[in-house]
């Protein structure tokens, strides 16, 4: 298995979260190869450094996502998957949703 392919991750941003990322909704990301598997905590840092165009505090807070953003891994709440400690698999689909409040 090629290391590059191993860390292909598709990130999707919804509920207005895409506005923080230049309005782009889908990001196909190939993470740099490293000896340990990537986990969500590292992915958040990587996103903050590589994808976030403006005001990172609206997306991350400390080493977690900010309140009001729900994180999904393969269509499941990341709370079910180990949250920050979840180890990413090849072709994982990560979605960040900003909660909506309008009616």
């Amino acid at each position: 298995l090629a290391a590059a392919a191993l860390w292909d991750v598709l990130g999707i941003l919804l509920g207005g979260a895409e506005l923080l990322f230049d309005g782009v909704k889908e990001h196909h990301v190939t993470l740099p190869s490293q000896s340990e598997p990537w986990n969500m905590k590292q992915l958040l840092v990587w996103i903050g450094q590589n994808l976030l165009k403006e005001r990172p505090e609206l997306f991350v807070q400390g080493d977690d996502v900010r309140p009001g953003i729900l994180v999904l891994i393969n269509d499941a709440d990341w709370e079910l998957m180990g949250q920050l400690d979840y180890e990413l698999q090849d072709k994982d689909n990560v979605v960040f949703i900003s909660t909506l409040h309008g009616g």
Partner: protein, 282 residues
């Protein structure tokens, strides 16, 4: 007063004939509907289609709550109101429209703002609560009141070209605070006045919300108790998300709740309980 159990009248049988045919509903489900009461919090873009389809389906009692008045800028999505209702209280305008469609539904308009003072007393009179509100403090208030009153909360929201739907506090599933223990920073919250919304998006979400209320009220049960349905209108795509279960450490529904009575939700969220002006200066 509780809704009494009575047999379907001949007129009921005629009116509901097309849904009485459904094995999933039938006479039993229809009678369950007619004995159920639903409180609709907000008669706007979500509340209008929701109230319309709940009344059409034959829900027994419908509480319609809104503090606001009908404005021209509402009519692109708040389809129960009409041009001539401008200036009228939304709760009243909605109740009038609903009664024209089905006069056998008992409609109770509440022309007031839901608050920590009145929420428990109101919600305890209903079997199911539908959150059709438009701001963060009201969403926390409705959630806490539903947990304290042990009522299922069918919650939808819409903004721009997107919508979300979940049933909270239902059959061991999570409450709103289990998912969102800390309110979002006020500067990250966009409402429909600021961000806009395509009118038919709350239309779709309000109809989906009505479906879940009908399934719960009729006894069929909802499948959204631990599921979030997300809708993206741009490409007409839906996603169904598996959610976490009820969280033992939740401040309101957990094992040792710290919130056992309603609090000041505007202070908690740092924003006003309206979608009209966004930030509260504390």
């Amino acid at each position: 007063t509780p809704l009494e159990s009575k047999p379907l009248s001949n007129e009921d049988i005629m009116r509901y004939s097309r849904q009485l045919l459904l094995p999933e509903l039938g006479v039993r489900g229809q009678k369950n509907l007619s004995q159920s009461s639903v409180l609709v919090v907000g008669c706007g873009g979500l509340g209008c289609p929701l109230a319309q389809y709940l009344a059409a389906a034959g829900i027994g009692r419908l509480g319609l709550l809104d503090y606001d008045e009908v404005e021209l800028s509402n009519l692109h999505r708040q389809v129960l109101h009409r041009e001539e209702s401008q200036g009228q209280a939304k709760a009243l305008s909605a109740a009038t429209a609903v009664n024209r469609l089905n006069s056998t539904v008992e409609c109770i308009p509440y022309n007031l703002q839901l608050s920590s003072e009145n929420a428990l007393q109101l919600i305890q009179q209903y079997d199911i609560v539908a959150d059709c509100s438009d701001n963060v403090p009201t969403r926390y208030l409705v959630n806490d009141a539903c947990v304290i009153s042990r009522k299922p909360l069918v919650s939808a929201s819409a903004l721009r070209m997107e919508g979300q739907l979940t049933v909270y506090n239902y059959r061991g599933g999570p409450c709103y605070r289990c998912l969102y223990p800390v309110p979002p920073p006020a500067e990250t919250v966009t409402n429909c006045s600021d961000g806009g919304v395509l009118g038919v998006v709350p239309g779709i979400m309000g109809c989906l919300q009505a479906l879940e209320v009908i399934k719960i009220a009729s006894g069929q049960g909802s499948s959204c108790g631990q599921q979030l349905v997300m809708f993206d209108a741009l490409d007409t795509r839906f996603r169904s998300i598996r959610l976490r279960p009820r969280q033992p450490e939740c401040a309101v529904c957990g094992e040792k709740p710290s919130v056992t009575q309603l609090v000041d939700y505007e202070a908690l969220c740092g924003s006003a309980a309206t979608d009209k002006c966004r930030r509260l200066n504390l």
